[in-house]
Symmetry: C2
Subunit: 123 residues, 2 copies
Amino acid sequence: MNLKALHKISYGLYVVCSRKGDRFNGQIANTVFQVCSEPPIIAVVINRSNLTHEFITKSKVFTASILSQDTPLSFIGHFGFKSGRDIDKLEGINYKIGESQAPVVTDNTLAYLEVRVLQKVDV
Amino acid sequence: MNLKALHKISYGLYVVCSRKGDRFNGQIANTVFQVCSEPPIIAVVINRSNLTHEFITKSKVFTASILSQDTPLSFIGHFGFKSGRDIDKLEGINYKIGESQAPVVTDNTLAYLEVRVLQKVDV
């Protein structure tokens, strides 16, 4: 199998946010997908070395902001190529606190999901 | 949260095929996604009541044909709204046998993946 086939898989683009105590963080993710309709269950893949992974593991909640197709690359880069260990990634970004108490990024956002963790799988 | 937000998640469209002994089957799926780059690992969500789920569970291999955007609805319906318990879904369809020995649908296919099951998670 030619590994380039993997590039033909379609994804959306999302900012996944979580909290740990009074600290917030968010990151870009492309692997958000619904795995069950009733009840609605979604899955997300997060690199275990990321700060957002640590926050989700701790708080067991996250949000996923579904980004518009015309989201600027600078916005994607802000959440994709920087680490919340170095900067406060939500500074200067429009967001609100969701019912889950995790932040929901509202810039460039078509819709958002608030999620409580049911299950965690190591890959 | 408004459940309509779930409709904003982006997916591709795939025919996932597997085999059980000398029987073949395939079904439409939208939830195929890469969860690890090195080594390349993908995940797929399959309803556990589907015949394809039974075949994958038995053979531990499957293929995913990544469908073109202009795939006819009749083709999608053939793999999406019929059960391999009632008909041979690969009859009249162009396919080949992959290295995994599972069938690979080649009609309307941009690229395909051949997959060996490493892990199964009940949702």
